[in-house]
């Protein structure tokens, strides 16, 4: 096993552990934006697609890399934009929650 592969495997394993650690803390209500956010992150495949497009010489390779670049860009751009749209809604602070003056004896109930 050469040093480069070993280094790549090290990075791979640590990134997996990092992924586990980061996600276990996210509250359920944010799961959908989170899935969408993670979905846009794997759009990084665009970097790889650009690299193969740059070295494509024959027609087949050029077609494959064109499709790869288009697919990956769609993943990146669409993913981030749709995630932002979702999160924008959470940020919106509408009128302060109304004081429910004559609510029935809900003492002790979870308020916020």
């Amino acid at each position: 096993m050469n040093p480069e592969l070993l280094a790549a495997l090290t990075v791979f394993l640590l990134a997996i552990l990092c992924g586990f650690a980061v996600i276990s803390k996210v509250p359920a209500t944010l799961h959908t934006p989170l899935m969408s956010g993670a979905n846009s992150i794997h759009g990084i495949v665009l970097v790889g697609s650009m690299l193969i497009a740059a070295s494509a010489t024959d027609l087949l390779s050029q077609v494959l890399s064109l499709v790869a670049v288009a697919f990956a860009t769609m993943n990146v751009v669409g993913g981030y934009v749709v995630t932002d749209r979702m999160l924008q809604m959470f940020r919106k602070k509408p009128t302060a929650p109304k004081a429910v003056a004559d609510a029935p004896a809900p003492a002790g109930k979870g308020g916020a």
């Binding site: 359920a28 944010l30 979702m86």
Partner: protein
């Protein structure tokens, strides 16, 4: 390694770091948007750095630049347009579609690399052939699987589980074929036709894997496929020797796996159980609640309005029916009207209400429902005992008391204790069944009144009926 390459590698590293920090900031609603923007910024730096690297190297032909520019313009345009215009109810299928193309791109990288190596006639070492084959297999499964999942959510493909005759055998045969072909490639043989065989088998497997799974389970499937794409991208990173692909891919692969498990837990089902499919709409699932044949009490609009207006507390239980009818704004209007009359209104959000966990929160937030009124299941369930009216809008399986008893397809699924409320109003188009394909005994409960209407139209009528009081 010259100066520019060092700089570009640092740019990639910055990108990778921003993905991790971005995901961490998505932990809380307050920092989530900021986290996503940070992640997007890191992505822009990584992509920009790649373009700089290619420009400085000067080895890229004009054709190469045209391919990159056209690809980015077409893909970016499509992505931007669809993401901007999609209705929030249709958002899950769009996420699935973006996932499909991401997996497809990862698979294409490996296919291209394999063709190039095979063209050079060189021997392919195990350290290249293993990630290459894995990338092709996982990326292709994700591609077709996500397209099918998206099609099911869009309604292009039936949401019901589609069981092909002998489907399990076909799937098994495909798996064996793909495995045998992969192992053959790992023995050191360089064969383009065998590589295409692996590709074809994986593409077909993606279809046969998702077809038998019911529409209600699609969120879990999409999440699992999202995790697959991450893994495929990491494999693509091994294929072309690029760390940022490995880091980002592994990060998504791991996070997607955790998320998938959390979603499956919310439905009290195992991921394996879901993937084996056949849930919902199947035969023989009705027997368990056949006792639910009691009489249904239909409620008039005015009666419902009186119940709601003179209640002191109302819990709204929104379901997918509300989302498809685009009734988020109508329900908010009704809730505000009731609140102005002094009624305490809360929303009970089941973890899988809507199409994905958290989807209902997004839909209601879009309609300006104050965030503090949205209550999660554990928090709201004890409150049903003290609540005067539970207003169920287009929710079915998540309210079915049959889940508390064994022997039904929904058994063990955590449900909202709607039947504990003093009275129950259900707005529903018909007595049709939910995704689990079983009757809901809540509807024949003597405390329940049924309002047969489209969620949006029904709510609008309720609003005017309450106003008229």
């Amino acid at each position: 390694m010259d100066g520019i390459e060092v700089l570009v590698r640092i740019a990639w590293l910055l990108g990778a770091a921003s993905f991790v920090i971005g995901l961490m900031r998505m932990n809380s609603p307050a920092t989530a948007r900021n986290g996503n923007l940070l992640s997007a910024g890191g992505m822009a730096v990584a992509i920009g750095g790649t373009a700089v690297l290619l420009a400085v190297n000067g080895t890229v032909s004009a054709t190469g630049w045209i391919i990159i520019a056209v690809g980015i313009a077409v893909g970016g345009g499509l992505g931007l347009y669809t993401a901007r215009t999609v209705k929030m109810t249709a958002m899950p299928q769009l996420v699935s579609l973006f996932n499909a193309v991401g997996g497809g791109a990862a698979a294409l990288i490996a296919i291209d690399d394999y063709l190039r190596l095979a063209g050079e006639g060189a021997a392919i070492s195990l350290q290249v052939s293993i990630p290459t084959v894995l990338d092709i297999v996982i990326g292709s499964i994700t591609f077709t699987g996500s397209l099918i999942a998206s099609g099911k959510l869009m309604g292009v493909i039936s949401g019901k589980p589609i069981i092909l005759p002998g489907g399990r055998l076909i799937t098994l045969a495909i798996v064996l074929l793909a495995a045998a072909a992969s192992i053959y490639l790992w023995t050191g043989v360089v064969s383009v036709p065998v590589m295409f065989l692996v590709l074809a088998a994986a593409l077909v497997f993606g279809v046969t894997m998702v077809l038998p799974i019911g529409g209600a389970d699609m969120p879990v499937v999409i999440s699992l496929l999202n995790s697959f794409t991450g893994t495929a991208v990491a494999m693509a990173g091994f294929v072309i020797g690029n760390d940022v692909l490995i880091i980002a891919g592994a990060l998504v692969g791991a996070s997607g796996a955790i998320l998938t498990k959390l979603m499956a837990d919310a439905m009290n089902r195992s991921v394996l159980n879901i993937m084996l499919g056949g849930f919902g709409g199947g035969e023989g699932t009705v027997g368990a609640v056949s006792g639910a044949g009691g009489s249904v009490r239909e409620l008039g609009m005015d009666d419902a309005a009186i119940q709601l207006a003179y209640a002191s507390s109302v819990i709204v239980v929104p379901g997918y029916g509300l989302a498809v009818a685009q009734a988020q704004h109508a329900v908010r209007e009704l809730a505000e009207l009731l609140e102005s009359r002094g009624v305490d209104v809360k929303y009970a959000i089941h973890p899988v209400a809507g199409r994905m966990p958290g989807h209902m929160n997004v839909l209601l937030a879009e309609a300006n429902v104050p965030y503090p009124q949205l209550k999660e299941m554990e928090e709201i369930n004890p409150e049903f005992d003290r609540c005067d009216v539970a207003l169920v809008i287009g929710a079915n399986d998540v309210t079915n008391p049959a889940a508390r008893k064994p022997g039904s397809p929904v058994s063990g699924m955590p449900i909202l204790d709607v039947d504990h409320a003093k009275s129950i109003i259900v707005i529903k188009r018909s007595m049709g069944r939910g995704y689990a394909g079983i009757d809901n005994e809540l509807y024949v409960n003597p405390k329940t009144g049924m309002l047969f209407a489209d969620a949006k139209a029904g709510l609008a009528e309720l609003v005017s009926a309450v106003k008229a009081l």
